[in-house]
Every structure is written in structure tokens, then in C-alpha cells.
């Protein structure tokens, strides 16, 4: 039963460790989710398992009826890759649909806003000019009490002095 040499195991272990560190860091930063971490880590875990545990690789080769264990290795990696790509394709399709929907709704909203703006700018004035209306309102306000200035003065004069004057 062929086994991997120490040199091979060291190289594979170094690659696997570096790669796992890389993708775990990306996951911690929110750039990958847990599902992506699990699927991408197969690139490191499966070759490591086959190199460190050759009996396991041979066992799988016997079960699948394949002569060479590395065929099982590549087959497993390909299967994981297909599943990953399938999920990405579905996700892209959903994002595409959502993107199209948002663009449509935004375009309709923009048209509505422009229509309202156009309507406002073209609307004729049906009442007296705004300035006059304000003036009329001011003039029409009846004074029900003393003028404000007078009221303040009265209050100042009436407030009892409780402390020393400033």
C-alpha cells in the first residue's frame, strides 16, 4: 500500500494550514459565510486526510471500485465544487431578479417625481399672490390684548423683586 512521504505530508499540511487560516480570517471579517467556509475548506481537508491517512484513501478506493485513490480525491473535490457552483448560480439568479425589480421600481419612482415636479412648475396661480395673502392675514389679526412690547414691559414692572438688583 503506497504511503505519502514525510516531505509530501509537510507540504500538504503547510498548504492546508495556510489556506484554512486565510478562509477563516475572511469568514471572521464577514466576507464569507459558514457554508462557504465549509465548502472551500474541503480543498484543504480532503487532500490532507488522503495524505495523512492513506488507509482511509485506500478504503474509499475499494468501496468505489476505483483503482487509484487520487481518482477518489479528485472526484470528491469535483462533487463539492459542483454543489458550490450550483448554490452560487441560484444565488446569482435571485440577485439578478431582485436587481431588475429594484431598477424597475426606481425608474417608475423617478418618473413619478419628475411628473409631480413638472406639474408643480406648470401649475397656474388661482388665488391672490402669496405675499399679499400673508399681508392680509397680518392686517386682519385682531389685537385681543395689549401689544406684546407693552405686555413684557408690564410684566417686568409687576414682577416682585426678591433679590438684589443685578
Amino acid at each position: 500500500m503506497p504511503t505519502a512521504s514525510i516531505k509530501t505530508i509537510i507540504i500538504i499540511t503547510l498548504f492546508a494550514s495556510g489556506y484554512m487560516f486565510f478562509i477563516i480570517r475572511k469568514t471572521a471579517r464577514g466576507q464569507l459565510d459558514l457554508y462557504d467556509l465549509f465548502m472551500l475548506s474541503a480543498v484543504a481537508i480532503i487532500p490532507s486526510a488522503f495524505a495523512i491517512f492513506p488507509q482511509f484513501a485506500n478504503f474509499l478506493a475499494v468501496i468505489t471500485g476505483v483503482l487509484f485513490p487520487f481518482v477518489v480525491l479528485f472526484g470528491a473535490l469535483l462533487a463539492i465544487l459542483f454543489v458550490f457552483i450550483h448554490r452560487l448560480t441560484v444565488k446569482i439568479h435571485i440577485l439578478e431578479s431582485d436587481n431588475r425589480l429594484f431598477l424597475q421600481e426606481l425608474s417608475l419612482l423617478k418618473q413619478t417625481v419628475e411628473y409631480v415636479d413638472d406639474k408643480k412648475s406648470r401649475a397656474p396661480q388661482t388665488g391672490p399672490p402669496i405675499v399679499e395673502y400673508v399681508d392680509n392675514k397680518k392686517n386682519r389679526v385682531t389685537q385681543t390684548g395689549p401689544a406684546i412690547v407693552e405686555y413684557v414691559d408690564n410684566k417686568k414692572n409687576q414682577a416682585p423683586q426678591t433679590g438684589p438688583t443685578t
Binding site: R100, Q104, S107, L108, K110, Q111, Y115
Partner: protein, 236 residues
């Protein structure tokens, strides 16, 4: 009884040369049709020209004719129109023929009335590849959907009633929209009718479906039609 409110949806892409004449022609019909031009991200002055004559929606990005038509249908749905009629922005579809679609609806109220080039006479000039592709698509559609008997499933001139407007506002295909929308509508239980109309040859611009593209178009459309026949509309 109030006359029905009709909205004409005109999807456009780089049609600055033909859109003004088309809108003026619609206005000259004096039928009280309202219009909405949907500019599908044109790079020319289509939007500026169309705005002078009609409410215009400019899509922020080119999304294709299916998305553009759906924007028009959503507009019709939100404004409560009774009918919407889709015509092309290149001037091929004569506005005067729209009344035939409305009349056909009054005689036999199908949810969708297609303006067919081939229903009664076969005089419309098109390449043999396109004609062959259209015939095959029609044949397959009529076979898979027993309640359907169309001759021109790829026609871009069609009338939709409120039921169709409500359906298409939610579900409208963005790839090969003309034939696939019919398949989806038939699957959802809507009915489709046809009436013969006259069409003009394109005045400006060129078709994007040229050469042998109609053959690949045909195979892809057939795939989608077969898929539509057997899938649930809720999963659209």
C-alpha cells in the same frame, strides 16, 4: 358607460429617430389613448425626444425589452387602466390598428389579444428563418396548450386586459418575453386570441435577431415553453 382607459406601452431602445413620429401618429388617431414610453437605457436622445410628447420612464440601466414592457404594465396597473396595448417604438406597428385589437376584445373577450401578421394572409415580409422559427414556436405552443391557437406568438403588438395586467405586473419573463409570456399566461388560466393587423417594415435601426440567430432563439424559446407547461406559476 364610460369608455375604457387604454394605455399604450412603447418600449424603446435608441429610437430617437422614430419615437416622435410614432407618438404624433398616436395622438392623431384621436381615440383618447394614453401613452407611456419606457426608455430602456438608451444611449441617444430617445428620452429627451419622447418626453416632449408623452410620459416617459427612463430605466436606469438597459434591462431588455421584457423588463421595459413590465415597467409599462406596472404603470398601467398602478394607474388603474382597463387595457394596455404594447407596440414597438421603431414604428413597425401602426397605431391605427389598435382599434382592431379593442374591437376583437369586444367580440370575444380574451385576456390577451395578439396583433397577428399571419392570421389571414401571409403577406408580411420577413426572412424565411424567422418565419420558420415563428411557425415552429406556434405549433409547439398550440400542441402543449390545448386552449391556444395562435399563429404569431412572437408579435410585439398585443392587448392586455385587467386580468392580464395584474398577472404580468407580478410575473413577466425577461428572456424572450413575447412567446414566453403567452405560455405563462396560458398556464395561469388566461385566454389568448388573435386578430389580423398590418405592420410596416422597420424605418430606423436594425433587428438584433439576424442571420441564424432565429434558429437558436427558436430552440431556447421551445425549451422555455416546455418548462412553462410543466412548472407551477407560483414558482416563477
Amino acid at each position: 358607460m364610460n369608455s375604457p382607459r387604454v394605455l399604450i406601452i412603447i418600449p424603446c431602445y435608441n429610437e430617437q429617430g422614430s419615437i416622435a413620429a410614432l407618438l404624433q401618429e398616436i395622438s392623431a388617431c384621436q381615440r383618447g389613448y394614453e401613452t407611456i414610453v419606457v426608455d430602456d437605457g438608451s444611449q441617444d436622445a430617445t428620452y429627451q425626444v419622447a418626453r416632449q410628447f408623452s410620459p416617459t420612464v427612463k430605466q436606469l440601466k438597459n434591462l431588455g425589452i421584457g423588463a421595459a414592457v413590465q415597467v409599462g404594465i406596472k404603470y398601467a396597473h398602478s394607474k388603474g387602466f382597463d387595457f394596455c396595448v404594447q407596440i414597438d417604438g421603431d414604428g413597425q406597428h401602426k397605431p391605427g390598428e389598435i382599434s382592431k385589437l379593442l374591437q376583437a376584445y369586444q367580440e370575444m373577450p380574451h385576456s390577451i389579444i395578439i396583433g397577428s401578421r399571419y392570421l389571414q394572409n401571409d403577406t408580411f415580409r420577413s426572412t424565411w428563418v424567422r418565419r420558420f422559427g415563428g411557425r415552429v414556436i406556434a405549433k409547439v405552443m398550440n400542441t402543449l396548450f390545448s386552449q391556444c391557437a395562435v399563429t404569431d406568438p412572437t408579435s410585439g403588438m398585443r392587448l392586455m386586459d385587467r386580468k392580464a395586467i395584474e398577472f404580468f405586473a407580478k410575473h413577466y419573463p425577461h428572456d424572450f418575453p413575447e412567446p414566453i409570456s403567452l405560455a405563462w399566461a396560458l398556464k395561469a388560466g388566461l385566454t389568448v386570441g388573435e386578430v389580423q393587423v398590418k405592420m410596416r417594415t422597420r424605418v430606423h435601426g436594425n433587428s438584433s435577431i439576424v442571420g441564424l440567430k432565429p434558429i437558436s432563439y427558436m430552440f431556447r424559446v421551445l425549451g422555455y415553453i416546455v418548462l412553462a407547461r410543466f412548472m407551477r406559476i407560483a414558482s416563477l
